[in-house]
Symmetry: C2
Subunit: 160 residues, 2 copies
């Protein structure tokens, strides 16, 4: 089963290493990871998407909680949450296809963020599912480059 785990940590050098070492020591491949600021400048939030054996993952969660720089560990498996993922997709285009691609971007509420004679770059955000659907729709047009943030997640205020 896939899990999204959020870890609030002290914003210090070495913390990322300690957290990633915990996963790699057990052979877990992190699918996506986003590390960014929180409401407190002294703390960072790491959002980790990972799949693997439940029992081993339970051990990892416990060890994460025990790290000296960890403030809080949340597994979103049983919590109503909001997730968002952001993608930048650069397409190689022929001018005749441009309007067709712009139409697809609009359907997914994406934004055109860069245009050149032969390329078009689209920004889009949403649930992982939505972003995956956009990528699938655009793939036949020729994706030349793609960057994805990985998911961030937050407990719904309406679920509290």
């Amino acid at each position: 089963m896939r899990h999204i785990i959020s870890v609030i940590v002290e914003n210090k050098p070495g913390v990322l290493s300690r957290v990633s070492n915990l996963f790699s020591a057990r052979g877990f491949n992190i699918e996506s990871l986003a590390v960014g600021e929180t409401e407190d400048p002294n703390r960072s939030r790491m959002t980790i998407a990972v799949a693997g054996d439940e029992n081993v993952l339970e051990q990892v969660r416990k060890q994460l909680s025990k790290l000296i720089d960890t403030i809080k560990v949340t597994d979103f498996s049983d919590i109503p949450f909001i997730e968002r993922d952001l993608v930048l997709i650069k397409l190689k285009i022929v001018p005749a296809k441009r309007s067709e691609i712009i139409e697809i971007a609009n359907i997914f509420r994406g934004k055109i963020v860069d245009v050149s004679e032969r390329t078009l770059t689209i920004e889009a955000s949403g649930t992982e599912e939505k972003v995956n659907a956009l990528i699938k729709t655009l793939r036949p047009y020729g994706i030349s480059e793609m960057a994805r943030t990985g998911r961030i997640a937050m407990k719904r205020g309406s679920g509290e």
Copy 2:
């Protein structure tokens, strides 16, 4: 000086550890990190925002390039690029302030993604500068929780 570095790596367990260890061994604190899928399912893109001594950072870049799982290292310092950052901001609200906050979200082209009697959650994306400006504007209303992906970056097609 701050740098945004993108590293295309093989999508394997342990790669994240090796990369983050390179930075932490030199005392670099990574400001933000986003690790996500690329156009090739066997490869991930790590986008690292880091500040520090130029000479030491140059060494880190060289060592990153030498890692067995590294495909390509790009430093965006001298390249025209697009950057995007995504944030989820949960605010504690009193009903009387709701419309005021929604107006701010609209100005920044943010979306309201969750509402409850006492909370409002906003999603917004853009350059780091824009996201910082939104956070600054919302802070007086009372941010209870914030998650940020960190920046992703891509060379402009129009700069090629």
